[in-house]
């Protein structure tokens, strides 16, 4: 079951990486980066389930904060550039 989780997350990471590389616009690349951070958070949680030790769980909290701040800043940047 844990292996299936990691395989599914790897497929998701491949999709997000494709969008980062191919994305025609900056907003698509930011969305892909957001998705990759999402995959990291899910993978850390599943690693904690597998090993039974939550040593890396605070990292999930930090990634959630950093992902919010970076997305908000880039959104303001895109909007200011278009004005």
């Amino acid at each position: 079951m844990i292996t299936a989780c990691f395989v599914v997350l790897a497929i998701a990471a491949a999709c997000f990486t494709y969008r980062i590389v191919r994305g025609p616009s900056l907003a698509d690349r930011v969305s892909g980066l957001d998705g990759l951070l999402l995959v990291f958070m899910a993978a850390l949680t599943i690693l904690a389930i597998q090993t039974g030790s939550g040593a890396f769980l605070p990292v999930v909290v930090v990634i959630a904060l950093v992902s919010f701040v970076s997305t908000a800043v880039v959104a303001r940047f895109i909007e200011a550039r278009s004005a």
Binding site: M1, I2, A4, C5, V8, L9, I11, A12, A13, A14, C15, F16, Y18, R19, S25, A27, D28, V30, S31, G32, D34, G35, L38, V39, M41, A42, T45, I46, A48, I49, G52, S53, G54, L57, P58, V60, V61, A64, L65, S67, F68, T71, A72, A75, R76, I78, E79, R81, S82, A83
Partner: protein
């Protein structure tokens, strides 16, 4: 704890569906829409699976904090993202198909675009 792993697997599948939607969407707004649904539902399922599976107070507190942060910040950031995409990309042709109701609202003065 098989139940927690099962919930986490469902969450991973939702995240994968968001990735597929991000690849297959036709315009930036459609892509970010699928990603937003996947980020909220998928990560919430994964974290709840972790809470069910681990059941240790020190780790469950981190998971609950991450869940609360995600629920608080993700609608805000995705709303900002969609707003910037709207102002940046809708003037290019064939990006939003059908009727543009927000443009009508801005033209009628019901929404101030710079707030």
């Amino acid at each position: 704890m098989v139940v927690g792993e099962l919930i986490a697997l469902v969450g991973c599948i939702v995240v994968m569906l968001g990735g597929i939607g991000l690849v297959r969407g036709r315009n930036p707004l459609a892509r970010s829409q699928s990603l937003t649904k996947a980020a909220t539902t998928g990560l919430a399922l994964v974290l709840i699976g972790g809470i069910v599976a681990i059941r240790e107070w020190r780790d469950v507190s981190s998971l609950v904090l991450a869940l609360l942060l995600q629920f608080l910040t993700l609608p805000v950031s995705s709303n900002l993202m969609a707003r910037s995409m709207y102002y940046r990309y809708t003037r290019e042709p064939d990006l939003i198909d059908g009727k543009d109701e927000l443009a009508d609202a801005i033209a009628a003065g019901r929404i101030d675009p710079r707030t």
